[in-house]
Amino acid sequence: MSSRIAEIRLVSSHREVYEPCDDSFALVDALLADRINLIEHKPKICMEIGCGSGYVITSLILLLKNELPGVHYLATDTNPIAARVTQETLQAHGVEADVICTDIASVLEKRLAGSVDVMVVNPPYVPTPEDEVGMEGIASAWAGGENGRRVIDRMLPVVDVLLSEKGWFYLVTLTSNCPLEICLVMRKKGYASRIVVQRSTDEENLLILKFWRVKDEESLDKETSSESFVSQFSRYLSSFMEKRWR
């Protein structure tokens, strides 16, 4: 039986490309945890923005390919070397996605609008000085400017344009990115949200958020009040603070 996610020994690498790390593993864990839902969701087009080593998109394909044969996968990265490394990782696992080197997804925004059923993003989220944002090479994989939000904030409207009516969006964030604020930005665009995975490592506190479009204002209120992200966040924050004070 073939492995369900990408194998580290088959993931290609390069010194200018971000290697799979805790954040990548947390994102793949979130996709694994949601696998049954993803299969029932029956996506036709799945996409990753910022594919880096290719670990995440390859894992997504492997997770779904047996149950869902007809899916088109796309991956983009602003770093040409990362795009190539992703291609190598895909090939090493014998799976297929079209990889494009572009800034976020700018060359796809017109024609792919409203078509992406599943979007996954592990953005450059590390808070850094502003002038480190958008540099070439590996820095583009992590430099996020103030609060680590510079690139995330550029991505959110693009994701909103690309997602289909039933589109789902998985996003890696840190507590220092003010994830609650990100959820509120998306809520204004009509999305409900929840935390799929939360993980504290020595260096960072990771949250994998999932967003989905809600048809009308009323059900958005219902979705956000029942298993509300505000209460989810306060639970998360209090458990985190507890750990920290101990």
């Binding site: 044969p69 796309l74 602003t78 040409p80 291609q87 494009i100 060359v107």
Partner: protein, 125 residues
């Protein structure tokens, strides 16, 4: 890059209003077999710009697609001849080496090892 993706790409140089479809200059085309999936093809057909697909396929050496977009009945027909051709054009032809050319400005975007490099120069953003 396959034609299904080519059909979604447009040139986004600042000021360009007609950046689709990108003209394909092919140097190396590779064919890889993919499982035939009629449901997927029917779903994608609605999103495809037919003329761009026909021209793209032709520039990659595949001339079997009909010039005019077939109507929906052909997608439902028991005769799978058309769907098989669509399948081959969309999913089995890979542009490995070549370029994509903006129809308005003539700017060339290289395709190496199957990956189009669509990054813009500073003065194009």
């Amino acid at each position: 890059m396959r034609l299904i993706t080519h059909n979604m790409l447009s040139c986004n140089i600042k000021g360009v209003t007609n950046g689709f479809p990108l003209k394909i200059e092919s140097v190396t085309v590779v064919e890889k077999e993919v499982d035939f999936n009629p449901d997927f093809l029917r779903h994608m057909f609605a999103k495809i710009e037919w003329k761009a697909l026909v021209e793209g396929a032709r520039s990659m050496g595949y001339e079997e697609l009909p010039e005019d977009s077939p109507d929906a009945s052909e997608l439902e027909s028991d005769d799978e001849t058309f769907l098989r051709k669509l399948h081959h054009a969309l999913l089995e032809l890979h542009l490995e080496e070549g370029a994509l050319v903006c129809p308005e400005t003539g700017r060339k975007f290289p395709v190496n090892k199957g990956i189009p490099n669509m990054l813009l120069h500073e003065d194009e953003v």
